[in-house]
């Protein structure tokens, strides 16, 4: 397949993306000094750094779903994970500081719908971890410390969910869906934001494919919550609170810099219905099973600082400056990254 022509094309594509990236970072740095640690760092990061950033997020998602579906972490098989055919992950990543996973337990699912979705999603997130670990090889980051226990009530309280300080996503089908909602749209925005930063065309296609899977998951979660609570008086109303919190954390991480065209403010919507005009007619009510900007209906994109600020509950920004490593909530010791990576 590869011939000289192909290679030249690939290099042209790669250099084009890299150039755009450099421009974007230059303008960001100009507007908000300190948005990235240094221009030298920004200029030298590689596809590996981007994929390692994604790997940290997949560690987080994978362990959440494994614990909820099987009652175990991704690296320890038990009878439930084995019966479901979920891969046991060998934690082969060595870059950075290995940590432990705390909190989390098997959800006593009562409906086939939600239980089977949890099992499917766990398997798929586990495969994403495996794929990234395998692709990164000796460059892969270690699994960092991950908090899947007290992190949830902290976030739920910050989002002002009723009785949020005692919230557990492992208590019931409904609570599990709320917990899953916290992650899924974030994964979409992270992969979307990363897509144009990747320089190897094959990596772009894989990232696009994982982006699609994260959006399938997000659509699954939002659809299921809408079916359970079409009136939006219970768990569906929590989605609005969570989305508002994510949007505010994301906005804070911009530090006044111009957002991506597909990162409007707010850059997140819960399930609250909105009004639309169809075929030039009068307004009608529509659900919001898609998390996207209202005009062009293009999913939101977030940069790594925005994503870091969400998953650390505001740990990426302090006193108008970017804090690195971002620490807090799900990542009590921060993410793992190479010298030029994102944390």
């Amino acid at each position: 397949m590869a011939n000289q022509d192909t290679q030249i094309l690939d290099e042209v594509i790669a250099s084009g993306r890299r150039k755009m990236l450099a421009l974007g970072l230059t303008s960001l740095a100009g507007i908000a000094a300190g948005a990235f640690a240094s221009s030298a760092q920004a200029a030298s990061f590689t596809d590996d750094d981007i994929l390692n950033f994604a790997l940290n997020l997949e560690y987080l998602e994978g362990n959440f779903y494994y614990l909820a579906a099987f009652g175990t972490t991704i690296d320890v098989a038990n009878s439930a994970s084995t019966a479901a055919g979920a891969p046991k992950i060998t934690l082969s990543g060595t870059v950075g500081t290995p940590g432990t996973v705390t909190g989390g337990s098997q959800v006593p699912f009562s409906t086939v719908q939600v239980g089977s979705y949890a099992v499917e999603t766990a398997i798929e997130e586990g495969k994403h971890v495996q794929l990234l670990l395998s692709a990164l090889g000796s460059s892969a980051v270690a699994q960092p410390a991950i908090n899947l226990g007290t992190s949830f009530p902290t976030l739920a309280a910050a989002a002002k969910i009723p009785n949020g300080s005692s919230f557990s996503p492992y208590a019931s089908d409904d609570d599990f869906l709320v917990g899953a909602y916290v992650f899924e749209d974030v994964g979409v925005t992270a992969y979307h934001g990363a897509a144009s930063l990747l320089t190897v065309p094959g990596n772009l296609t894989v990232a696009a494919g994982i982006l699609a899977v994260e959006a399938y998951h997000a659509g699954l979660i939002r659809t299921t919550m809408n079916y359970i609570d079409p009136q939006g008086t219970g768990i569906a109303s929590y989605t609005n609170l969570i989305s508002a919190l994510r949007a505010s954390l994301s906005q804070a991480a911009l530090l006044g810099a111009a957002p991506d065209p597909y990162d409007t403010n707010p850059d997140d919507f819960g399930l609250a219905p909105f009004q639309v005009s169809l075929g030039g007619g009068g307004n009608v009510t529509a659900t919001r099973l898609t998390d996207a900007d209202q005009t062009n209906v293009i999913a939101f994109a977030r940069n790594t600082t925005q994503v870091l600020n969400i998953v650390t509950g505001g740990g990426a920004v302090s006193n108008g400056k970017v804090v690195s490593p971002a620490v807090g909530v799900f990542f009590p010791a921060g993410l793992n990254a190479g010298p030029n990576g994102f944390r």
Binding site: G16, E120, G202, T223, P261, A286, V297
Partner: protein
Amino acid sequence: MDKLTALMNRAVSRRKFVAGVGATAGATVVLGLNGCSGSSHTPTPTPTPTPTPKPVVFTDADVLNFALNLEYLEAQFYLYAATGAGLQASDLTPGSASTYQTVGTVTLGDAAAVTGLTPAQQDILNEIAYEEQQHVRFLRSALGSMAVPMPNIDLSFFGPLAVAAGITKTATGDGSFDPFDSFDDFLVGGFIFEDVGVTAYSGAAGLISPAGVAAGYLTAAAGILAVEAYHAGYIRTSLTGRAIAAGSATNYPQLGAANLVEDLRAMLTVGNSAAPSTAGSVETLLVLPTSISSPSAIVAADPTNAVGFARTVNQVLHIVYGSPTVGVGKGGFFPNGVNSVFATTTA
């Protein structure tokens, strides 16, 4: 990082995508349609001679216009289902610099507002219709004078398609498949398009030039890809959830109908495309979970790595034209073909 590519066994340089329209192709894939009982097909790679290459020279505008043709189709389908009317006239017109200057028409068939919806279901149809309408508008706006007009669209093709898929025996009238007849049948109609939309944008992402990437086309395409996947997730979740609620596949024939659509889509692309996903099928059959500990199959992705599929332009055309034949430029949902340099299948 080339290892990622190797792992996926789907190198997708620009050239590889274009392979469907010209370059030397590698092995193609023959899907075994018999005995598909699992959640995905088992492919049997079979080397197949490639037809004489016929290079297609294309621009970023051509890539976006190809997507626009598909969005016209989706928007008309969902708008008719939600409201009984289609896109407004101002959303159909050609850009002044477009090669194509004739606005097409819609053959309606059974197209009409779906009846018997609950308010919650109506709101969902409204959302999807709105979102596809806005994709049409976004692409038209991005393309400006280069935007192609809506081609002729045939919404009566659902009947013949269902016959080809083995869902019904009759293409029209009593006993034919009508996606506008009920919410459940609407889900099957939407199912025909949604996974295809996801894979089409995945495939198109690699066709965008460096200049187009710098102009933001790639990010926009990735964002629309995500929205199509939200929709596909919605459709597949609904079909699965309603089948679970019905208690059995027999009680909910739409689940089986959707899987017959997947078989048909696979069959239409057998042996005729140098697909980026030649490592495996690009379909994931729906399953009916039987317990809280058995997995559903909401996500359509490769079974090894859980990475979403991509389709080439040719594969997409074979599906929307309803024809596996190479060299075909029209048919199915597009009776006069798409308004595109890619209109005729070349592989």
